[in-house]
Symmetry: C2
Subunit: 147 residues, 2 copies
Amino acid sequence: MTDLFKTLETAERGDTRPAEALLAAMRWNADGLVPAIAQQHDSGEVLMMAWMNRQALEETLKTGRVCYWSRSRGKLWRKGESSGQVQQLKRAYLDCDGDTLLLAVDQAGPACHSGRRSCFYVALDEMQGEVVSEPLIDPATLYGASH
Amino acid sequence: MTDLFKTLETAERGDTRPAEALLAAMRWNADGLVPAIAQQHDSGEVLMMAWMNRQALEETLKTGRVCYWSRSRGKLWRKGESSGQVQQLKRAYLDCDGDTLLLAVDQAGPACHSGRRSCFYVALDEMQGEVVSEPLIDPATLYGASH
């Protein structure tokens, strides 16, 4: 079997392949998932990483609103459905071996459940980790007091 | 048991925790790995995603040169050891639940084994995927003709 992603390594800029062939050739893990990195399209800030199954990816590409697979809840997770902090898809990219997605998004408000813009807020060095950002919004406001 | 990452959600900016406690509390997967996203520190370009075990992370923090765990080769992978395209670590970040790393790096030349700057070179929409960048360097030059 020819590996579609292998053939793309030497493809020219502008070459295309059908989405269906690419999705079929993607390297989903044993749980049928791939990691998806969300990056704010204009600032370049990396906001979060979550997981998608094929259904979540297809819905995201179709609707333009980012939908992940929640591993903890075991169901589709339309980002912002409880917090209101939706992600609009600007453009999606597959990586060279078809096992990771990069999503250029427009994130309303905080991406992180802690109320921070980005989930990556603990800077880590050999000695210590340091909290480097503050919540934009109190999580109790995002999710209600019962969260 | 108190979850260290849970307590950090409400920590103040500038609060610190020992690196050893954070590494011990990280949510390594069943193979002892976490995904690590490499982002060019100045341009913001997301270059690649690979995996780290604890040893790879500790080496990276200690040496300042990025070391991953190669799942295909089953060993530590000092990025650039065969291609020469090393990644210098500028800063590392843990995410809110301690299961993903973001690495701000300075990448020499291409990060991708295809010779492209970034691994994310197939733009994907509902209909098709399109190759959106070209190799900076012929991979044969990066790895030698035997690769």
